[in-house]
Amino acid sequence: MTDTTPILALHNVSKTFGRADRPVYAVRSISFALHRGRTLALVGESGSGKTTAARLIMREYRPDAGQLLFRGTPVGKSGLKSYRAAVQMVFQDPFAALNPAHTIRYHLERPLRLHRPGLKGAERRAAIDELLARVKLDPALIAPKYPHQLSGGQRQRISIARALAVDPEVIVADEPTSMLDVSVRLGILNLLNDMKRELGLALLYITHDIATARYVAEDIMVMYAGQIVEWGQTSSVLGNPQHPYTRLLLSAVPDPDRRFAQTASGDELNHIEDIRRRSALPQTQTREITPHHFMRPLPA
């Protein structure tokens, strides 16, 4: 990781749902930091706690324990408006994220009015055109349209433009390409990469598709049952996975070089239930693999 202060950091954050006698530990004491111009990927299966982590960052949930630090200061009630302007989200479903009754211009105008009240008529129109051009859409053609007139990929570009409207420092993208066609996915991923480079954004990329995580993220965290079980440089974690759950996840990724029939007997895929059960146990130790790669060993 870089040695500069992170824009956003989580320190031992936990969130529990359900009743006291039957608690669901959605997020268990997670810590990570987001830096300018870098992408951190959070990968794991459905129900592993990825989206809860995103909602904690968006302040939709308050942590039961632990702290959220924004530029080194704990996030509290005061300064929440500037926090919300600095941290923006791109959602999974490009069809549900836009209001069908309003034009694209309206979707981009609203955040500009709320967060940049200094902009007047013509300046605001210019800002809308600039945002659309930034996400590689033709402003004259797209601005007057309604969401239903756009394709899924175009809508996801609008979601990104809307997030960029308030000049954010952090973007949380929760499965931004999982509902798009493969041929469109790459365009969105490239756009996120460009934004990161050109605007120096810190990106949290949440996904269950590890191949796309490898494509966009310098660093990666693997989450299972609310815990981050392995984290570090993407190349190191994916090239030399240490935690049994990371290995299981990697072996399940579609790989044209491995036919189904070729699964070896020692393969993680033959021990799925066992790995899941053991990986869900509390893991409090940290082991350093390299200075840029860490894991939580399973309890003996």
Partner: protein, 272 residues
């Protein structure tokens, strides 16, 4: 060489519009051999699901199968079947797992009742016989018979998907059609389910028509693969050829748009 289970010849399907017709499937021909795992790949809107629906005659107006099209299942002309024949044909000959099949279970009936529904209607089984057969089918997809008394909402998404597959296999169909069967599931569950299907088709020797847009997954699972583009079948080859030396430019473009987990980063690669 044995005769194909499914033989499609010159299949053309149009969606009839008020002004113009939209050709969803254009002059498509392919065969699926007994026990073969056949994949059909392409983007949304390329016509792959329309073909799947047409095979079991589940297509509805405005979809229209053009004259001259032929679908033969085990030598029988599917397009000539009448209503009564169709009822016997569906499920017994061809069973279909839909994209969101895990949501196609009836939420107010237990798993056992949903098995009984099929086994009574199509095989005339009693409750006791149906319960035994249902337990056997659940065991095939690695689900405990205790689950027979569960309601769908008490099962996970992956489990519901496996239950639907078990119901599809209830009458020993010759062909199992799976239209994006695991798109809503995560990779580990997807791998578990497809691995199971692969074992079962070898044990029970049924054929599979597998539809997805994930080419890597398709190469792992399939014997042969057809690539569709705008209603046309542009390439049919064995899985390794599609992977190692794709013939059609569109197949090459599809590969180029897939980020890979190992090996070289792709064109314009990440800075990581």
């Amino acid at each position: 060489m044995s005769a194909p289970v499914l033989s499609i010849r010159n299949l053309s399907i149009d969606y009839i519009g008020a002004d113009t017709d939209f050709p969803a499937v254009r002059n498509v021909s392919f065969d699926i051999m007994p026990g073969e795992f056949f994949g059909l790949a392409g983007e949304s809107g390329c016509g792959k699901s329309t073909i799947a629906f047409a095979i079991s005659r589940l297509h509805r107006p405005p979809a229209l199968i053009r004259t001259g099209s032929q679908i033969l299942l085990d030598g029988r002309d599917v397009l000539a079947l009448d209503e009564a024949e169709l009822r016997r044909f569906r499920w017994r000959e061809v069973a279909m797992v839909f994209q969101s099949a895990m949501n196609s279970l009836n939420p107010v009936l237990t798993v056992e009742q949903q098995f009984f529904d099929v086994l009574k209607t199509h095989a005339g089984m009693s409750r006791t016989q149906a319960r035994a057969r249902a337990a056997e089918l659940l065991a095939m997809v690695d689900i405990s018979p205790d689950r027979l008394s569960s309601y769908p909402h008490q099962c996970s998404g992956g489990m519901r998907q496996r239950i639907v597959i078990a119901i599809c296999l209830a009458l020993n169909p010759k062909l199992l059609i799976m239209d994006e069967p695991t798109t809503a599931l995560d990779v580990v569950v997807q791998r578990e389910i497809l691995g199971r299907i692969d074992t079962l088709r070898q044990q029970l020797s049924f054929s599979v028509l597998f539809i997805t847009h994930d080419l890597a997954l398709m190469v792992q699972a399939c014997d042969r693969i057809g690539i569709m583009l705008e209603g046309e079948l542009v390439e049919v080859n064995d899985a390794q050829t599609i992977y190692q030396s794709p013939q059609h430019p569109y197949t090459r473009r599809l590969w180029a748009s897939l980020p890979r987990l190992t090996g070289a980063p792709m064109a314009g690669g990440a800075s990581a």
